[in-house]
Amino acid sequence: MTPKFKLGVTLYSYTGDFMVTMTLEDCLADLADAGATGVEILSETHIAGYPNPSDQWVEHWQALLAKYRLQPTCYDCWVDSRLVKGRTLTAQESLDYLLMDMKLAHRLGFKMMRPKLGVVTDDLVPDPVWREMAERALPHAEKLDVKIIPEIHSPTPLKSKTVDDYLDLITKTGTKHFGLLIDAGIFKERHLRPPKPGDWVEPILGIEPRDLIPYLPYVHHIHAKFWQMTEELKEPTIPYDKLLNVLTEQEWSGFLSSEYEGDRAAFAGTQQIRRQFAMFGRLAAAAAAA
């Protein structure tokens, strides 16, 4: 079976190089050269003059997308619930920030936005104002055709009240403009190296890629998170072979957005993305032959 998913890169992968050794154009040239056709950005990092970029910057962005033949995939933003010390943002305030970003996402050509929400528990249950914020945002999302896709990130499991509540919103409203972004870190099987005391590392949740199948109709984007690609083209912590088999078999057609989160040596992202894409190529060939 031939995979239907596409390859993208989030510019987060170039953290450490962006604005030090690489400009925005360098990053886009780099990921296009590696074979990506989609690009994901972090609003507050990669948009000069955020939240009010100049028309010249927007024209520059559009010219770069055309030059490197890239599709804008997901616009990552934040609802900083602890913005004001001593209290959390109201639903109205959260909505104002979300809509500001939604309009900017639309202006830059994105069809998906990932608001990172403030959390109230250790397993990342979002601030309860999210529901009112999201319901009131949906008419705008439909009008601008931007899907709102909160991220399911370790240590949040798939079987959780958080995910159930997101799916409940979709079921109750019937919207096509709300869904999930899955961070592949939830499938982590082992640690890259034994954590030192006091280090926070993403835990091993015991979630199998197959467990994703019932959720896939709502999954619009995947962060292909990784910490290290070896010279043997292996990622030691996340079972990408199983994940790619599931995505291929289920004919999932979204973007796998490469998200390198390892050591930040100069040009590490450039090297690591290529190794990951080479691994994906091998795995996809194996899946196609199966």
Partner: protein, 133 residues
Amino acid sequence: MLEKDMIQERGFKNLFADGRAVGFQVRIRTPYYRGIWASLLEGAEVTVDGQKFSPEEVKWTIGDKTYTLAELEKASNVRWPFEEAATLTVPKSGGLSAGLHKIEVCMLYRASYIPESLGLWPMKSERTITLVH
């Protein structure tokens, strides 16, 4: 463009008033992976050659405006852009001598998507940089 380290060598200077050195300035880029609203900052402790200055003593210049720690707390509509270094101003009578100085910066900010039980993650850097004159 920025230097990779949070502590920037460019911009390291004494601050003069009425012809006398009254302190020094050091620029820092955000050590976080995104630009933020200034009210999310919880200040920075600066240590020079072992002498500590508390977050309350350190003033921040972001863009063309200067803020005390108390003023930063209210600056929820001020951006500290990812691509721009902020200037930290530290009061020190007589300033610093020309030459190499070991600077340490420990900066704190709130990240709303991280459980509060984990506390604030101090972002620290230490670098020996040169004050030209």
